[in-house]
Amino acid sequence: MTHVLDPDALADPSGAAGTLPDPFADVTRSNDAFRAFLHGLPGVDQVGAQARVTQLGTRSIKTTAKAWAIDTAISMVDLTTLEGSDTPGKVRSLAAKARRPDPEDPTCPPVAAVCVYGDLAGVAKEALAGTGINVAAVATAFPSGRASRAVKLADVRDAVAGGADEIDMVIDRGAFLAGRYLDVFEEIVAVKQACGSAHLKVILETGELVTLDAVRRASWLAMLAGGDFIKTSTGKVSPAATLPVCLVMLEAVRDFRAATGRQVGVKPAGGIRTTKDAVKHLVLINETVGADWLSPDWFRFGASSLLNDLLLQRQKLRTGHYSGPDHVSVD
């Protein structure tokens, strides 16, 4: 047997992830002050981050651990369709899959949410009534974010009115890369207000931010602005979610909770296609931030084809042989 020496090593040091007084209240008093704060966060060595991720990628997750990981991953999926050609029929089909992912096994857990464009949120909401599965809607001129503030906020309000429980917004990457951090921050604050009781995920579009230093800064910016989740990507830009990016975001939420007492969730999206990928993410969470984030309340996978691969692997564990695409549904 191999022992983790101290399973409590990553537990919440304050004992309760509540809200403490904000030690960062005045960093947003001006763009200069905000810039100094964000640029004062520790840098990230890219090679070192990749090395850590590679090492964690060698974890061998077998038998009972694998079964738990697959079911947990399924329960964390935000089952997604974000195409120009989406129709109510497509959304209803996805919703049916969300509630019963495995046509051959009713014990398979449902997914966490269905993620659609805001104008189809109502269709999804109706199709998922009574299931406890949330409706997440993308808004704020997804995926580019290039529209006026007024248009973006209207987009959010429409989605919320349509029944979205969660809003996935995009940050203004142009403003971020131009150093107008306060503009980006204020927009997130405004969107959070427009969300009402809907829960807000902030998409950083890390593929456009490129450096891990920028990912760390954007993560802190989004959390300070009140985001409930930070999300890697729209899935429309490559590279989308990568493990080093996810590592840096997990470190950010860990440090943020230690500093403020507030827990923020993480959602990698795009490019996560296989069970192996998903399990690597769970290992990353387990060994970076710990068990507190190992639930759909605090971690989601933004994915579409991942679900079928998870189901195939689940079927293999159940039946003992490799499964095939005819045993999962095509949506």
Binding site: T2, H3, V4, L5, A9, G43, G48, A49
Partner: protein, 480 residues
Amino acid sequence: MTSLFEYAPAPESRSIVDIRPSYGLFIDGEFDEGTGTPLKTVNPATEEVLAEVATGSTEDVDRAVRAARRAFTRVWGPMRPADRGKYLFRIARLLQERAREFAVLETLDNGKPIRESRDVDVPLAAAHFFYHAGWADKLEHAGLGPAPRPLGVAGQVIPWNFPLLMLAWKVAPALATGNTVVLKPAETTPLTALLFAEVCRQADLPAGVVNIVTGAGETGRAVVSHPDVDKVAFTGSTEVGRSIARAVAGTDKRLTLELGGKAANIVFDDAPIDQAVEGIVRGIFFNQGHVCCAGSRLLVQESVHDEVVAALQRRIGTLRVGDPMDKNTDLGAINSAEQLARIRELVAAGDDEGARRWQPEGELPDRGYWFKPTVFTDVSPAQRIARDEVFGPVLSVMTFRTPDEAVAKANNTTYGLSAGIWSEKGSRILSVTSKLRAGVVWANTFNEFDPTSPFGGYKQSGYGREGGRQGLAAYLKGDD
């Protein structure tokens, strides 16, 4: 409290290795009985006896050296250099082909995690042979003149911490430069060397080019003091290094030594903190701290001491210790009861001298030789745990205020093998690097090795370099 995501056992199968009950010596292309009292080699994770291994007597060593001399004079020396290269390419490929077998055997015999044997030791060993194979017919570019010549017979003694890799570091350059070898593996870890002998046969390496004489200290002494050995290469403790240097005094024998260390890992306030913590962990807990170039002293800038130590302790708590054959193990067994006793003695000294010891919560396995990762804070430079090499998973933490103070403290040791420096500022890295008296300096990384990068120490960490173009010089006579 148990972790929510418990990893199930993920054992690597042992079935790929076929360990014989006993092994002889590999001399002149054949396995034969040694004439000394055999020794037993043990799996340090379980204390199970793995095999009996012959002990080479003085006569056996003499036979091996004569076989190496014959092979040098008649076969290997006159051989076309490109052909020597081809043999080394074959050996490299065979190590790659039999990689899993070597990794499992190394873990069983040494106690290191299978993940490390598989991902570090064996691939690097193959890479060393591959790299040196290409030098065999290019020695006029080695920087030693247009026609450098081999020295003859090399007597090589290697330690137990990276048995196969240390064999590769010794044998590959020796052969590539046209020498033949008599190699003595460490007493507690002979098995991968003996499997390597099989690889030499599979490669059709001519008899006598590589000879493997197992045994303990006496056998090693016989190898290094044999009058017909032209070149001695030793990796091991500084204490034994001194006695070897004394033994070759007044002879024509060339000598290289790779000895102990007490490396400083320097963390500045502008370090990339999360990666620095990984680097500290890698620096002292990789291979259970059984590393001559281990980052065993953490010199952290005082302004970030508490933050770094807290992050370090948090990270150490996630280390997985236990069965080295489990693919998820991070920290394996201590190699022997003797080494465990040494570690305990020094740690007790640390306690006695007033340093503050921290170890993570948790259980260690019952059987086998184990030690928890340990961090001493409030260490002062005069304490034994700041000065003596522990060669185990024990880190001593000290602080500094300015770069000059960091350099002074880092250099304040009779050792000089390696050092680490963590900072996001390039000019500071280069400035500090230029002042560190260490043969290997890692900036924003640690314990990285490559056949192209010369390795070796300053001061009492030894002399000579292994690897790279510079490493060839130890095995050649050129124009200089």
